[in-house]
């Protein structure tokens, strides 16, 4: 083997060497083989592509199917109750009066309150892990802990909430002078806030790590402090990513059922303040579906699912619009 290894021509000379050493038959066979090989490659490529398309389509069909099922199954309730369903304040299965307003309100208040509580924590964790300490055992430990929060089953949060958090909230309520029941929208928002931190935090962390270092270095070079770099370089650069993470966690909060139903107090009375007991759409469905003994009742519960579906879609669409505007700036 006397090929030169300079300037990357090693393969070429190797090839020449092999070709000169081969008989014409061998060359033909080799050519055929490589032709076959490339055919196979092309076929693999197209099959892979087709699989991807099919998988994507399956997801679309699934979502559309769920939507259609919800619409079809809630038709009896839509027919008999009409639009009044959305702002009716009474949910009385005995007299077949169904109004979803208290639950719609409960879902929105508890989710947005949870979001407000969780944002400082998730953004702080994201900045700490993404900018201040991206490496080392402590950040790794913190990162894994935060991710573990997402892995804990929600029923455990519910039990923890009922056993530990609710008595603490009750003490707080005693101090500030509202009815000391403990369970209520505030308790459920606290639980939800803990549950949704990881979603915004991990997305935020990856976004912050993606900020190009020349930008930051330039800012430091101009004499900016760390806080100034974060405020005027990192955060503006990552705001759409951070917002996407927050949106993701809001979606989680809207649909959470088990933990919420255990601490929210489950009453269909419209809450007077954030400490009052309430109810959410998801928890009403979970609570009442098994024993719903009338067709209209079942249909009204399914319509509740439809409303939840639409609320999630609308919030996501609004979120997308806001993200687009951020990115265009």
């Amino acid at each position: 083997m006397d090929t030169s290894v300079e300037n990357g021509i090693v393969t070429r000379s190797e090839l020449q060497l092999r070709v000169t050493n081969s008989t014409p038959e061998a060359i033909a066979a080799k050519a055929k083989k490589s032709l076959k090989r490339s055919f196979r490659h092309i076929r693999t490529e197209s099959v892979f592509k087709r699989t991807l398309i099919i998988m994507g389509l399956v997801m679309v069909i699934l979502v559309l199917g769920i939507f259609l099922t919800l619409v079809v199954q809630s038709l009896p309730s839509i027919k008999s109750l009409g639009l009044k369903y959305l702002w009716g304040k009474v949910w009385d299965p005995v007299q077949d009066i169904y109004g979803a307003f208290p639950f719609l309100l409960g879902t929105l208040i508890s989710s947005f309150l949870a979001l407000i509580i969780s944002i400082p924590f998730s953004v702080a964790v994201a900045i700490f892990l993404g900018e201040y300490h991206p490496k080392g055992w402590l950040p790794d430990f913190l990162k894994n802990t935060v991710e573990l929060i997402a892995a804990v089953p929600s029923v455990i949060y519910g039990f923890w909430g009922l056993a530990i958090l609710v008595p603490m909230v009750r003490t707080l309520e005693n101090h500030i002078g509202v009815e000391p029941v403990g369970v209520g929208i505030f308790s459920s928002s606290l639980i939800l806030a803990v549950m949704i931190i990881p979603y915004a935090a991990s997305l935020g962390r990856s976004m912050i790590q993606l900020v190009p270092s020349p930008l930051k270095e330039a800012a430091y070079g101009l004499g900016a402090t760390r806080w100034e770099v974060i405020r005027s370089v990192v955060l503006p650069y990552t705001k759409s990513g951070l917002f996407a993470g927050i949106l993701l966690s809001l979606g989680r909060a809207l649909g959470e059922t088990m933990a919420v139903t255990m601490v929210i107090g489950n009453t269909s009375i419209i809450p007077k303040n954030i400490f009052a007991p309430g109810n959410t759409m998801a928890s009403v469905i979970a609570n009442e579906f098994t024993e719903a003994d009338k067709p209209v009742y079942v249909s009204a519960l399914i319509e509740l699912g439809l409303v939840l579906f639409l609320v999630t879609v609308v919030i996501n669409l609004i979120g997308k619009k806001i993200i687009d505007r951020f990115t265009n700036d």
Partner: protein, 371 residues
């Protein structure tokens, strides 16, 4: 060689895809048509001889014990799904189970959904007790029907209300506010309790009514007996209703309730059985709440097993129908001995004789199954 391997891979992939699609379509169809579900259940049933039942979660501990014992005696397996009374009835309506179990008799709408008449067999009795959290009160609290209804309507809001004090003479009641705990999930327990309140209070009957889920005027909801019990234990001044068996097992304080005859009755297995020792109608669909029995606890109720009167449907065999009837007959006779240990009230003699008559009315192809 390699190419073969690749073809295999590809066919596997397509196979997997079709499998996924078919699963998706089958589950899509399941919601709309009940027939496909019932067919598959029958096929399962014929594959092994186990009887299938579904319904009341209240019955589940007793049924588990009874079915295990019956398997030893009769060699028959019973598969019971504790999915809730309403779901049990709808599974019976769809003919996916051999029997349904419910804490409430079927209502008019459920009846009209059936394609053939069904019969109710009383299988056990239970009670709903009022548990409370008043650390200062050492004596057992006493409650009259009016006071109870007014508490749950929200018109009595303090524990030291004169109306409560009048029936609890000598008991020092605190001035704390009453916190009400009720079930948030639809349940037979709520049904028994609200049926009782509807009977004893005209106000309750018009404002709230009875059902497994009602529009509660006041209070907090807890999921399941454990949810309500949790609220009661945690909240000073709380009162809520739970199953007798659950209250006994968890050593919770519960109140004596005044019955129709005017006696204050401590809920117990004996007083629940006593409540059922009244004239029972031939179809057994009676609510034991507010019982006439002088020593009976007023918030009691039967739990029923519901089957089709004509057992020949969906290609069921006569053997299957006979073994179902034999099982039910064993449950209301020998099976009752397991009630006490699990804190269920055994059926009263009156209930057993009515149950016998109902079982004998079941037919296969028009002929009586049990002689």
């Amino acid at each position: 060689m390699k190419q073969n391997l690749f073809t295999i891979k590809r066919s596997l992939l397509t196979g997997a895809f079709f499998a996924i699609m078919s699963v998706a379509f089958v589950s899509c169809g399941g919601g709309g048509g009940s027939t496909s579900g019932s067919d598959s259940a029958n096929n399962n049933a014929s594959a092994d001889d186990a009887l299938i039942g579904a319904g009341s979660s209240f019955d589940n501990p007793l049924f588990s014990k009874q079915f295990a014992e019956y398997n030893k005696v009769g060699g028959l397996k019973v598969n019971y799904q504790s999915v809730g009374s309403g779901a049990g009835i709808s599974q019976l309506t769809n003919k996916t189970v051999d029997f349904g179990a419910s804490d409430a008799p079927m209502n008019g709408k459920q009846d009209s959904a059936l394609t053939a008449p069904a019969i109710h067999i009383p299988i056990t009795a239970g009670a709903v007790v009022l548990s409370y959290n008043l650390p200062e009160v050492k004596d057992t609290l006493m409650l009259s029907p009016e006071v109870l209804a007014n508490i749950f309507l929200g018109t009595i809001t303090k524990w030291n209300d004169p109306k409560i004090a009048a029936i609890n003479k000598g008991v020092k009641l605190p001035a704390t506010s009453i916190v009400i705990a009720h079930r948030s999930d639809g349940s037979g327990t709520s049904n028994i309790f609200t049926t009782y309140l509807s009977k004893v209070s005209a106000d309750w009957n018009t404002k709230v009514g009875k059902g497994s889920s009602v529009n509660w005027p006041v209070g907090l909801g807890g999921k399941g007996n454990e949810g309500v019990a949790g609220l009661i234990k945690q909240t000073p001044g709380a009162i809520g209703y739970i199953e007798l068996a659950y209250a006994i097992q968890n050593q919770m304080a519960y109140a004596k309730v005044q019955n129709k005859a005017g006696n204050f009755i401590t809920p117990s297995i004996a007083s629940v059985t006593a409540a059922a020792n009244v004239q029972i109608p031939a179809d057994s669909k009676i609510s034991l709440t507010n019982t006439e029995a002088t020593d009976g606890y007023p918030i009691s109720g039967f739990s029923w097993v519901i089957i089709y009167k004509e057992q020949k449907y969906n290609s069921r065999t006569q053997e299957r129908a006979t073994s179902l009837l034999k099982l039910l007959s064993w449950m209301i006779h020998d099976g009752q001995q397991f009630s006490g240990a699990l804190n269920y009230a055994p059926l009263s003699p009156a209930a057993v004789s009515v149950g016998d008559a109902i079982l004998k009315s079941a037919t296969y192809d028009g002929k009586a199954i049990l002689q």
